[in-house]
Structure formats: C-alpha cells, structure tokens
Symmetry: D2
Subunit: 274 residues, 4 copies
C-alpha cells in the first residue's frame, strides 16, 4: 500500500493541497462549500423550488441527478436529458454552480454541455471506462467512494481521472457498507482527516446517503466540518415525503436553512468559514 | 425484500429451473460444468497451452479476459481486441465454448462477435448501462456478484439482463467482501443453496477469486459442488508465477487435472455428474 | 501475523494433526464426527426425545445448552444446573458423549462434573478469564470463533487454552458477521481448509447457527465435509416450532436422519467416513 | 427491533436524559467530560506523569487499565492489583475521578474498592455474567460497544446493567469492525446522534481505539463533540513510543493539552462547554 500507487493523487505530489475552481467558486480553500439540492430532478417546479431554497440558505452548488442508477430496473430511472435541461435552467436562474451524475461513457460529452461539474457515483467508482472518459471531458469531477472500496482503491480511482490529465477532482466521502441495520452507510469519522493526509484533493462529505435519516444529517454535517471536510453535499427537497427516491433523508428547505446557520460557528471553531 | 422485486429471476417464475444452452453445452442441467483458463490472455502461447490443458482435463468452457478492470491505471489492462482474436482461435482449435469479460457499453457488440458467452464482472454488477446493453446482445451472459452486493441486489442486476429479453443468464457467485486478512473474498457456503432457492437461474461458483490461494481452490471447488452449484469457474495458467495478474490463485495444469478427478466422486455423491 | 503468535496451536508444532479422544470417540481422525441436539435444554421430555433421535440417526455427541447467553436480559436464559442434570442423564441413557456451554469462570468446575466436553461460545471467544479457567479444567474444550474474530484471533484464543496445559481443543467454525440480510452468519467455505493448514487442531463446522435456516443446513453440511471438516455440530429439536430459541434453524428428527444418510457418500467421496 | 427490547435504556423511559454523578462530576450534562490517561498502567512513574498531565490540561477523569484483555496469551496482561493501587493513588494525588476495566466476575468487588467507575470493554460487552455482576456493584459503569455489535445489542447489554438496578451507566462508543486497512475501528459519525435519540444514557466517544493513529485523534475528537457526544475517552501516555500496548495511538501530554484548547470552541459552537 505504498503511496506510489496513486502518485498523482498523493499528498506528497502537492503538499499545499489543491483548490478546484469553478465559475469563481473555490473548492478546497478556507471556505467550506455546501452543495445541496434534491436527490433526483423530478419536475421543473420541484427543482426550481429546491434551487431557490438552497440558494437563499447559502449553498453555492446545486446538486441533483438526471440519470439515476437504481438497484431495480423497475424503479424511477431519472428524467434523463429533460433533467439536464432543467438543471441548466435552475443554475442560470439562481446563480448556482451545477453538478450531476454521469453513468454511461456515451453520455459524458452531452452531460458536460449542460453542467459545470460531473459526478461519478459510488456504484461506478470502479467503472474504469467511465473514469477514463470523464477524465478527458474538460470538466471538474466529483468522485464518490464505492461502498466497499478501501481508501487506497478510492484514490486509485481518482488516479484514473488525474492520469487522463484532469486535475480538477473532488473526492466525496459518502460512507461505506456496514452491518448496523439502523444506518445506511456508516461514515467513518477518521477517514475524513485521513483522506486529507493521504491526498491533496479537496474532500467533501455526503451526510444524506450515509445516514439515510433526516434527523442525523445535521449532527453529521457539523462533525464532518469539525473533522476537516472541505464541503458538504446535502439532499434538500421541497417535499421529501413525495420524493421518488430517498424520501427518508432529504431535508425540508426550512431544516436546511436552520442547519446552515448552525454550521457557521462550527466552521469558525476549526478555523474555516461557511 | 419481497421476491416481486426480481420477478423474472425468481424461482417462482420458473420452478423447474433454467438450463442455458450454448453450442450443445447445457448449463444448469445434471452435469456440473467446469469453465477454466487463465485470468487474463497474455500471449498466444500462454492461452493455447492453457486451453489445451483445460480441454484435456475435461473442462468444456474456456475462461479468460481480454479486457481487465484493474484498481490501478498503471496495472496491466489486458490485450483488448488482440486478446479477443486469440480467445476465438483457442476456442476453435480445442473445441471449447468461450467466454470473456465486457467492461464498456461501446464494446458489447464487438465482443459478442468473438465469444460464445459474455461475462460481466463484480465491479460492473451495478453498471446498469452495461447490463442493459449486454441484455440486448443476443448472447448468454455470466453475471458475477458485486463484492458488497446483497443477494437481492445480485438478482436485481440479473433482472436488468432478463428484462431486456435475454433469458440466458448464468449467475457466478465469487464471494464477497469480508474482514479476514487471509481470505480475498469470503465465499458464504449457504449462499449457494440459497441462490438456488431464490432463483431458477443456473449458479456457478468461482473458487479462485474467492480464496486467492492455490491450495484452497480444490477444497472449495468440492464444497461448492456438494452445496449444489451447477458449475465452477477456475483459473488455470501454464505458469502462474509469471502471470500478469492473480499469481497466487491460478492452478497449474497438473493441479487442475488432478482436481477434476477428485471432483467427479463428489458430484456423484450429490446426484450430479462431472 | 507470523505463526509464532500461536505456536502451540500452529500446524508446524504438530504436522500430523491432533486427534482428541473422549470416551473412545476420536475427533480429528478419519471418521467425521457428528454432534447433534437441541439448541437449549428445555425439558426432560424434549431432551430425551432429541437424544434418542440423534443417537438413532448416527450422531455420537449430544449437543445442548443449559446456560444460554442471550442478547436480551428478558430472553430465556437456560435451565442452568437442572439442565446439566438432564444432559448427564441423556448421555448415560443413550450412550452419547455430552457437551455443553460454559459462560462464567465460577461455573467451570461444576459444569465439568456433568459433561464430557466443555464448549466456549462465540460471544466468549475473547473472555480470557474464562479461557484460562477452562484450560485448567481437565476436560476437552470446543471453542467457537467469535463472529468478528479473524482466524489469527481464533487461534490465539485456542492458544490460551493450550498454554494452560489443555491439549484437547476442538475448533468449531460457525461463520462470521456479514452484511447479507438473508444469512445469519456467512460461513466462508475457504476458511475450513485454511484452518486445517494453519493448525493441527480438529475443526468442526456448525451449519445451524451460520445459515439460520432449516433448508440450508443440509447443503452446508455436505459442503463442510467436502471442504475437509472433521465434524459437524447440528441443531436438532423434536419440535422446532416450539423451541425457546433458534426456531428457524433446528432440524426435525426425520430431517436429521435423512441428512445423515446423504452425508455418508460425501464423506466417502473425500476419503473420509461418517 | 422495537424499543421495547431495551425498555430501561430507551429514550422513551427518560426523555430528559440521564446525568451520571460521580464525586461532584456530572456526565451527560452541558459540560463535555474528558477522560484521559494511558492505555495501561505500566509503572508508578508512568501513571503519575500521565495523571498530572491530563489534570493540568483539563481532564476530570483518569482512564487506565490494570487488567488488559489481550488477543495473545503472551502479550502484557496488565499489572493487576498493583495497578489498582496505583490508580487509586493517582486519583487521590491529582484530584481525578478514576475508572478502570474489569474483566472477570470474580474481580468486580475488589476493583470496586479501588476506583470510582468500572469499565466493561468491547470484548466483554456480551459477557453477560460480568454485566450482571457489575450491575450489582454499586458503582457507575462505562460500557463499551462490542466491535461487531449492533446498536440494539449495545443497548441490550446496557439493559443487563440497568435491570440489576444500576442506573449509572455511561455508553462509550469506540467504533466497530470494518474493512479499511488504514483504520482500526471505523467510528460511524451518525451513530453518535443516533444513540442519543435511542437512549437517555450519556454517550462518550473513544477516538483513540477507533483511529489507532495519533494524528487522527484530534479531528475525530472535535467531530465527536460536534455530533453531540457527552464526553471523550482519550489515551495519553508520557512516552507513547515505549508503551506496552497501543503505541501508535496514545497522545503525548503536549499534544493532549493542545487538543483540549482546540476542543473548547467546538463545544461552544454546539452549545456545550468543555
């Protein structure tokens, strides 16, 4: 497990740390970046409401998925290209940086035309064909860890992106597989500072997919910042009870706005800003 | 977790069990099918030696990979199309059914021209775009379980193939993620008969990737058959010490031939044949 | 992880393997030993019925617990000393070797007066005070692996028994913690031959606690023997539906009898006897 | 998994939360309690140096073990009764509340004479005989979660203590078994607020055993407080490199003192004090 296996991603290759810049936004700098929005784009109204709410609360990036990888072929698979259009529109209307998931090598160039940041999800962390394609797309990429990937494998997946010449890679730690029935994906607290030791890449944390439970998103968000995360990716939905996926974990706009207020003093307590 | 989630794959939908037929070979019938060959195609000489050895020992399917998904971008990635050519040649020369892994949606049609059976590996079990494409290819597909997939998720991945109209799906159980440092991927013995209860699809077992150790491949192969597996997928290499991947687990031709002799009485003891 | 850490248990210290002898029975020799009986002693009638049934089917050791370690303080905790009396009586009446679990250092000497073999359960595998006491009791000990113990830790726990001068130690592999919701404790097939490589101690397998499901006990029992196990520990109850613990996994006498017939050819297929 | 299974421990049975009082110290109140000290008592000088250092830095409880449960019978097993004497002396000399681990039912009454709080370690979380004995000892008990215990099992173990009439139970969450080779025991961030929802008992966190690495203890300590922990248990040793156990994770006195200063603003940011 020598660091040499992920030489471009290793902290040693850039001891001062990387800052990814997108439309004036800096990810990996002093300011903690909050990405927020619905799990999936479901309709224009839903996305616009969510975008408005997260913008007003202080988020700078709109998160939402147009392509949904689902365990079952019979579950809602996302709005596809129609969703991309809505994401672009919401980003423009509310002055938000946009990101969305890409799931197929053949979609990379299209998706890149619509959003500011590509996201590669946990299930595709070792879809190496997709990593290579995304590495060539000329867009920043958020890479989520596979649910049973080691940190070494996570960094090697980032290395696939970096070795294609893409230096704008953001790691998103979203917890791993565990055995506790009450927690979707246990989020090891120590892995946050450990990632920061191992790599120069910015590290953000997804408290929503990890906990799977509204009431835990707040405490975990605070903990992530206290542990050194460079940002958060939080699911916010205007009406979580009606969501087509992840009902239990999406925050209401009011809950998100309240959370943002609570995060600010935590960020300050560890020398950061929100 | 009701069976309804994977209705086409469920045992209820075909209580008598499925038999996949390829070039006269039946997978899922009384005869236990042994697929064997090198982890990766490395050269013509290597593949031909391996093919000859496994044919002589009684295997009916040649396993080998031309495209290798590797954790590191700097590891051997396979011979690609040149490898496909060699697999086709070896199959013809030794009268073996052939199979190989497909890793990119864009390669599915090409790979389908060269081999008899497509394989989708553990890392791509939830690469849904790839599943959909493979489901339309008109070829039987071997689907390996993801290393942290539940059996439900495994069967739902099979459902993606089946719901595209492909009824020739073979499940390959290759063990899962565990915490024992001496075992690569613990292979739960009970999951073999459990899969046979849950689904009508043939279930084969990969003792090589599970154990990661030559000396354990034999006992685990016997156990798999005793537990009801319909077949095995075993790595055999003319010179494992020189292999470009999986050195520790590939059997020598002589070891494989000896194993085949030992498997025969075990198959009979549980009412099967080899 | 050098073998030196469990020097008395290591295969190197006794390459020919150990045979534990109890009242004429040999555990670890050519003959596969089957231990069977109810999870817990519940009443005289229940135990006598179970003992009669397992004896007639060919088991040589009566398994049953008088002290039940239970996750909840409100669950049935076993009959205690009354249970010990019944076990002794059943052993004498049916000519069976007896074993039972011991859970408290203060009970070791009493329990040793009533049964032929002590058992230390999974939850107590690292109860070192209990191991030391059991190591001095002058009785053979069956040691079950902790559900999250590595094989190294398992062998080190055996080393506690051995280093107190007790050479009659039998390892019982009962599966480990996993993430599959349909399987209680995944039983890694490869760990059976691996244990046989690492240690000279006899290795038996518990298919009942691992699978947690009646219909899987048979296939897993066959697989365990095929993989090289020296014996089995199987739960059998005259009326599983009424059992005070482990209802789902205990076999009916008729099922057990049928299983014993099926195991015999499997044992022969791998050069053993039943 | 209804709450009814751990009715005395459940939040519903005491919605306002429990405060455990020991010699004027309150655990579970507004003030975050820091317990610190060496993994094991090794000598008078070592313990006194550690006690002095943690007192000066602001800790209120001295942690240290006189009885060490060790995986190998050949590892340092602790100083035993001599260690208890030293702990008592250190507590008196520096005005610290004391705690130590108890590992044998037969030692409970003796240990209770020497220290203010009993500790039951992860390996003994389901040593029910020990739980029952500790529940009767008339002393507060710190209960650590077993490394593969679910939260339900953890609370049921606490229920054993509570159902013996002991209401002064403190839960210590120390992480669980995981598969990441770089982290000893992944500490799920969400489990901290989740425990606080499920139970009224105070919850403290052990960042030392979880991370296993000095440099991660600080960030994880901050995160634990941010997530709502009522206290911390931190290993501090005057000379970690010479420690007889857990060398890699014990903080130097200077590191601990620095950490205490950094924790204070984090506690304030979430409405607590240090």
């Amino acid at each position: 497990m020598s660091d040499i296996t992920y030489k471009l991603a290793s902290r040693a290759s850039k001891p001062e740390g990387s800052v990814v810049k997108v439309k004036g936004l800096e990810i990996g700098a002093k300011k903690v970046v909050v990405m927020a929005g619905p799990c999936a784009v479901e309709s224009e109204q839903q996305l616009m409401q969510a975008a408005k709410a997260v913008k007003e609360a202080g988020a700078t990036v709109l998160r939402s998925s147009a392509y949904k990888p689902r365990s079952s072929p019979y579950s809602f698979q996302g709005l596809g290209k129609e969703g991309l259009n809505l994401i672009k529109k919401a980003g423009q209307e509310f002055g938000l940086v946009t990101e969305t998931e890409v799931v197929d090598t053949r979609d990379v160039s299209t998706v890149s035309e619509y959003v500011d940041i590509l996201r590669i999800g946990a299930r595709n962390m070792q879809n190496f064909a997709l990593l290579k394609e995304a590495g060539k797309a000329g867009k920043p990429v958020i890479l989520k860890n596979g649910i049973s990937a080691t940190l070494e494998e996570f960094l090697l997946a980032a290395e696939y992106l970096l070795s294609e010449g893409n230096t704008d890679v953001i790691l998103c730690y979203r917890g791993v597989k565990g055995f506790e029935p009450r927690v979707r994906f246990p989020l090891d607290t120590g892995s946050i500072p450990l990632l920061k030791e191992l790599t120069h890449l910015p590290v953000i944390v997804d408290p929503s997919h990890s906990t799977g439970k509204q009431s835990l998103v707040g405490p975990v968000s605070k903990a992530a910042i206290a542990a050194g995360a460079d940002g958060l990716m939080v699911e916010v939905h205007p009406n979580p009870g009606q969501a087509k996926s992840d009902k239990e974990q999406q925050l209401l706009p009011g809950q998100f706005s309240e959370l943002m207020k609570q995060l600010s003093p935590v960020a300050k307590a560890v020398g950061r800003e929100l």
